[in-house]
Amino acid sequence: MQAVRIAGVGSTVFGVLPERTGRDLFGEAAQIAIEDSEVPRADIERLCYGNFIGTLTERQGHQAPLMTAAAGVTAPATRYESACASGGVALMSAVEAIRSGTTDVVLVGGMERMHNVTTKQATKGLAMAADDLYESRAGVTFPGAYALMARAYFVEYGGTRADLAAVAVKNHSNAIGNETAQFQREISLTDVIEAPTVADPLGLYDACPITDGASACVLVSESYAAAHDLNTPVNITGAGQGTDSLALQERKSLTQTPATTRAATTAYDEAKITPDDVDLLEVHDCFTIAEVLALEGLGLYEPGEAIDAAATGDTTADGNCPVNLSGGLKAKGHPVGATGVSQVVELTKLLRGDHINTDAVPDATVALAHNAGGTVASATVHVLEVCG
C-alpha cells in the first residue's frame, strides 16, 4: 500500500465574500496548494472536491468539472457531499485512491459560498443536513439540534455555559494572527455568556459563523515524492470514516458520537497509534458543545470529562494537547464543503513549522483532523505524522 504524503496545501481567506464565485474561490485555493507542492498540473490524476449546498446558493450542480477548469487541470473529478463533512469524505477518497496504487497525485479540496444568499436561505440550506420528516418539519434547526445535545449532556454529566464559553474564548484566541481566519479577535467569557440566545442553552458565540472560502491539498504517493525529489515532510498515516443515524431520535445516546469513535478507531489502527500519541488536533467545533463531544468521541477523554478541558487549560495553546490552534470552525470559520480539507491545511503548516501558532507545538509529530457532518451522522478522522 502506498504511503500518502502531503505535497502542498492552501486556503483562501475565510469570511464574508459574497461577490466571489465558488469557482473563483476554489481556483485560488488550488493555485496556492499546487504552487506549494511544486507538482506540475499535468501530473494531477484526480480531483476530489467537497461541497454541500452549492446547488442552492449558486444554483450550480455538477461542480466537479467546473472546479477542474478553475484549478487548471484535466483530471477526472467528482463532487463529494456529506454535509459539513464533505471535505473530509473527499479527503478519504483521495487517500484511498493513492493507497490503492492506481493514482500517484490527487488534488483534493472543497468550497462553500453562502453569503451571496440571505442568512435565512443559508440557514434553510444548512438545515437540509437534518432529517426532513422527523426533525426539520418540527422546527429543529442546527443550533437547535446541538442545543438538544448540550442540554442532554448537562443533565447526564453536569457542566455549565461557562465551561462551553471557555471553548469559544480559546478558539478565538488561537485565531489571532491566522491570516486566513474569519475572526481574528479575542472574546471574553462574559461576551459568550451574555450573547443573545440562539437555542438555549446555546448563544450566538457558541456557534461558528457562516463562512465563504475554499481549501485544497495536493496529495502524492511516497514513490512519486521520491522520484520527483519533493519535500513532503507530512504523511497521512490513518484515515477513518464513521456513520450514525441521521436523526438524533434514532440514537441510543444524545451525548455520545459513535460515528466519531468508529472513524477514530480505524484511523488510530491504521496509524498504529493511540489517542495518547496525539500532540495536537483540529476538531469539528461547529458549536462549543461539539468540541466537547468530539474530544470524548476521539477517546482523549472519558464520556463526561471533556466539558472543562478548555476551562482548565488542557486544550489551550499552552496546554497538554492543544485543540483548534487554527481558531477552529468557531473563529477560523466554517466554509462547509472546505472545512475537512482546511483542517489538514492548518495541521500541515503547524507540523511543517510555517503556521502562526507553530511555536505552541515545537516538538509535535502527530496531529489529528476530525470533521463531522450534521449532528455527527457522518465523521472522518485523519492522522497526520511527520515523516521520520
Binding site: 440557514t123 426539520s136 418539519r137 418540527a138 422546527g139 431520535q249
Partner: protein, 131 residues
Amino acid sequence: MRAQRESSYDDLLDALAKADGYYFACPAGHGSLPPQHVCPTCGDDELTTEPLPDTGTVVTFTKIAVPSPAFSGQTPVVVIADFGPVRLTGRFVDELDRLEVGSSVELTIASSPDGDRHICVELASADAVEC
C-alpha cells in the same frame, strides 16, 4: 397540508391524530418509525406493528430563538422524548414553564405555516392545546 403526501410518514401522522400511534418492532425488540423495510439496528426484515405508549418521557428540549423560515416570527420549542423503544422529536405546544427533562408528554399533530404536517408534543396532564 402539503399537496403531496409522504406515504408511511403521513400514515403515521394520521394515526397519531387519532391517538392510535404505532411503531415497528423487530424480534430483538428494537423499535423504529416508518418508512422502514428492515430494522435499522439489526437489519431484520420481520417487522411487526406495535402500538405506541400513550405517554412518553422528555429526555431533552430547547427553545429556539432563531427559527427556521417555516417558523419565522416564532420561538418554537423542540422536545425529544422516549416512547417505549422509540424516541420521537416533536414541537412542544404546551406551557413552557412546566416543561422539564423527565416530564410526561403525549403526541399530537400540527402543521407549520408553510403546510408541513409534523409531530407535536404536549404535557400528558394538560388539556388539549391548539397548535
